[in-house]
């Protein structure tokens, strides 16, 4: 029963992801938000694993949990003077946000469920059928996508230098 295992994995990872995402957006303390966000990132990585894209699952954990979340924690530690409670200061704003988010989701879900994915023309070149995908992605990055790949490294370098400059402040 391979299908049942896939279903079980998908639904449990989806539950972890959505539950902790809701917690992250509504937690009273920022620290709780950060920890809930970690669970969300792991959940999304699990979904990637269920999808069979092992490289993206590992990248998700390394970059998001190991990099971006640590950055966010530093930002939280360096700035948290006034604890930001999830207060419903203006119910109108809260209700409006709920309506906007719900409408977005319902619209997207309506469009998704109305599309017959299986009958769309397949544009496969067979490049992602095999496992593991790491070698395939590495080949693609260093052949077809070499220019964007190198450009991404330049962007990251410039961004890190600029971020250090902005965070350090004036010309002292």
């Amino acid at each position: 029963m391979e299908g049942l295992g896939i279903q079980l994995a998908f639904y449990s990872f989806a539950a972890v992801t959505i539950g902790s995402a809701l917690l992250a957006t509504m937690a009273k303390k920022i620290v709780n938000s950060a920890f809930a966000l970690m669970a969300t990132f792991f959940g999304v990585a699990g979904i990637y694993g269920v999808l069979g894209s092992d490289f993206m699952a590992v990248t998700q954990i390394v970059v998001y949990v190991g990099g971006i979340l640590i950055l966010l924690c530093f930002g939280m530690l360096l700035t948290d003077r006034v604890p930001d409670e999830f207060r419903v200061r203006s119910p109108r704003r809260y209700v409006g946000a709920s309506i906007a988010a719900t409408l977005t989701f319902v619209g997207l879900a309506w469009a998704i469920s109305g599309t017959a994915w299986a009958r769309l023309p397949h544009i496969t070149d067979g490049s992602a059928e095999a496992l593991p995908t790491t070698a395939l992605i590495g080949n693609a990055l260093l052949t077809d996508y070499l220019l964007p790949f190198e450009f991404a490294s330049i962007v990251l370098l410039v961004v890190l230098v600029g971020a250090a400059r902005v965070a350090r402040g004036g010309t002292r």
Binding site: A21, A24, T25, M56, R81, D84, F86, R93
Partner: protein, 102 residues
């Protein structure tokens, strides 16, 4: 239970996106708004990977790779700005960032 199809993954990604949108609109602390933005990016990444699997085509996963790189850059710049804002205004809620109002 029905089989897990591409629609399941796309609906899940839409749900993550909507939760992130809710966080961006409701919260006032810029750090948490940044976290919610990362949630929205994660939702779109999931859609990319799901389509990549659906069509047996590697382009979606390569694009997700670049989205993650840009997300890291975005987080670094945003945190630098948040720290600068904290130094100038002694707080990081959005109400603090009114400098451009004149």
């Amino acid at each position: 239970m029905a089989d897990i199809t591409t629609s399941h993954y796309i609906v899940l990604s839409a749900l993550i996106f909507a939760v992130g949108l809710f966080g961006v609109v409701t919260r006032k602390n810029t750090v948490i708004i940044l976290m919610s933005l990362e949630l929205m990016l994660n939702g779109t990444n999931l859609a990319f990977v799901a389509f990549s699997r659906h069509w047996g085509n590697l382009q979606g996963q390569v694009f997700t790779f670049f989205v993650i790189a840009v997300a890291a850059a975005e987080a670094a710049v945003a945190l630098a700005i948040i720290i600068a804002l904290n130094r100038v205004r002694k707080g990081v809620t959005l109400d603090e960032a009114t400098e451009l109002k004149g």
